[in-house]
C-alpha cells in the first residue's frame, strides 16, 4: 500500500522536476530574448521543486537512501549495530513527526488566513506548505513502519 503511494509520488515528482526545468528554460528565454517580464515562472519552479524534494523523502527512506555517516556501523558487532539502528530510527521518527506536525499547523494557518506569496502573481501559500506537510507525513509513516519492524521482526523491510 505505502509502496504503491511511494511509486505514484515518485512518478509525480519526476514530472515535476522535468516541468520545473522546462519552466525555468522558458523563463530565461522570454526574459533575455524577448525582454518580457516574468512573474509566475520562478515561483512555479519553486513549488514544483519543493514538492519533488519533500514527496520523495518517504521513497528514499524506504531504501534507506538518505545520506548518513556509516563509518561506525562497519566496526560495531551485529548485536550492537541492531540497537544503534533502532535508536537511530526512533530519533528519525521523532524528528519527522515533529516536522510534519509543525508543517500541518503552518498549512492550517495559511489556509485560515488565506496567505499568499508577496509577488505580483500571489499564489496561495497552502500549495507548498501542503506539499511539505504531506511529504513529511508520508516520511513519518514510512519511518514508523521501519521502526516497528525492529520490534515485530518482519524480515521484509530489514536492511
Amino acid at each position: 500500500m505505502l509502496a504503491g503511494i511511494n511509486r505514484l509520488v515518485l512518478f509525480l515528482s519526476m514530472i515535476a522536476l522535468v516541468l520545473a526545468a522546462a519552466v525555468l528554460t522558458y523563463s530565461v528565454f522570454s526574459r533575455y530574448f524577448f525582454h518580457a517580464a516574468t512573474d509566475w515562472q520562478d515561483e512555479l519552479a519553486v513549488f514544483l521543486l519543493v514538492g519533488a524534494t519533500f514527496l520523495c523523502g518517504a521513497y528514499v527512506q524506504s531504501y534507506r537512501g538518505h545520506v548518513g555517516i556509516e563509518a561506525v556501523a562497519s566496526i560495531l558487532p551485529p548485536a550492537a549495530n541492531r540497537w544503534r539502528l533502532t535508536v537511530v530510527d526512533i530519533l528519525t521518527l521523532a524528528f519527522c513527526a515533529f516536522f510534519a506536525w509543525k508543517s500541518w499547523t503552518l498549512f492550517h494557518e495559511a489556509w485560515v488566513d488565506k496567505q499568499t506569496t508577496s509577488s505580483s502573481w500571489a499564489p496561495p501559500l497552502i500549495i507548498p506548505y501542503g506539499l511539505m506537510a504531506f511529504g513529511m507525513s508520508l516520511l513519518s509513516l514510512q519511518t514508523l513502519l521501519q521502526t516497528l519492524t525492529h520490534f515485530l521482526g518482519d524480515r521484509r523491510n530489514r536492511p
Binding site: 522536476l17 520545473a20 526545468a21 525555468l24 520562478d42 515561483e43 519552479a45 519553486v46 521543486l49 519543493v50 519533488a52 524534494t53 527512506q61 538518505h66 545520506v67 548518513g68 555517516i69 556509516e70 563509518a71 561506525v72 556501523a73 544503534r84 539502528l85 535508536v87 537511530v88 530519533l91 528519525t92 521523532a94 524528528f95 519527522c96 515533529f98 516536522f99 509543525k102 508543517s103 499547523t105 503552518l106 507548498p128 506548505y129 511539505m132
Partner: protein, 195 residues
C-alpha cells in the same frame, strides 16, 4: 550555561548524532530542534518549518536539483568514457600523454558536472584500468584521478560553490568566475606533474 559551554555541547552532540549513522538531514534538524526546545523561547520552535521553506525557496538553491538531473543524464550516458578515449587518442603522441589525457578529461568533465565524486567515477572508471594496463603504478593512477577530481568543484558549474554562495550570501556568478583561474592553473600543474 555560558556561551562557550553551550557551543561545545552543541558541537559535541551534533558530531555524536552524525556518527551514529542517522541520516544527516534528520540529524541536523533533530539536534537543532532539541536545543531550541531547551535553550530558546518556546515560540521559536513554531517557525522552524517556515524557515525551512523560506530557505528552500531561494532561486539559487533550486538550481542544485537541476544540476544533479543534468549530472545524472551525463553519468548514465557514455560521455565520460567517450571524452576520455577522444583525449587519449589526441595525447598519445606526447610523452606521458596518458596521464595528461586523464587530467584533461577530468577538467572537461568538471566543466560539465558540478561534483568531485562524479568526476572521479566518470573518468576513473575508464582511466584507471587504461593506466594500469600501460604500467602506471596503482598509487599514481589513482592519484591522478583523485587530484583531477578536485577540479570538479573548482571549475564552474560547482554544487559546492552554489551552497557557499547561498550560505555566505555572495554572488554566484562572481564565485564561478573566480574558480576558472585557479582551476586552469591546477590543470596545467597536474598535467606537468603527470608527464
Amino acid at each position: 550555561m555560558s556561551m562557550l559551554a553551550l557551543g561545545l555541547l552543541f558541537g559535541g552532540v551534533t558530531l555524536l548524532v552524525m556518527f551514529s549513522g542517522m541520516p544527516i538531514a534528520f540529524a541536523l534538524g533533530a539536534v537543532a530542534a532539541v536545543f531550541m526546545f531547551f535553550f530558546m523561547p518556546a515560540s521559536s520552535l513554531d517557525t522552524v518549518t517556515q524557515n525551512v521553506y523560506e530557505e528552500l525557496s531561494s532561486i539559487t538553491l533550486l538550481s542544485i536539483p537541476l544540476f544533479i538531473l543534468k549530472g545524472a543524464a551525463i553519468g548514465k550516458s557514455r560521455a565520460g568514457a567517450d571524452l576520455y578515449s577522444a583525449l587519449h587518442v589526441w595525447m598519445s603522441k606526447i610523452p606521458g600523454g596518458l596521464g595528461i589525457a586523464n587530467v584533461f578529461a577530468c577538467a572537461l568533465f568538471a566543466a560539465m558536472a558540478g561534483s568531485s565524486p562524479a568526476t572521479c567515477s566518470a573518468i576513473g572508471s575508464a582511466g584507471i584500468p587504461e593506466m594500469r594496463k600501460r604500467g602506471y603504478s596503482p598509487g599514481f593512477a589513482a592519484g591522478i584521478i583523485a587530484a583531477g577530481g578536485t577540479l570538479g568543484i573548482l571549475l564552474p558549474p560547482s554544487i559546492t560553490m552554489i551552497l557557499y554562495a547561498v550560505a555566505a550570501e555572495q554572488s554566484l556568478g562572481r564565485l564561478f568566475l573566480a574558480g576558472i583561474g585557479p582551476g586552469l592553473l591546477l590543470v596545467v600543474l597536474f598535467a606537468a606533474y603527470a608527464s
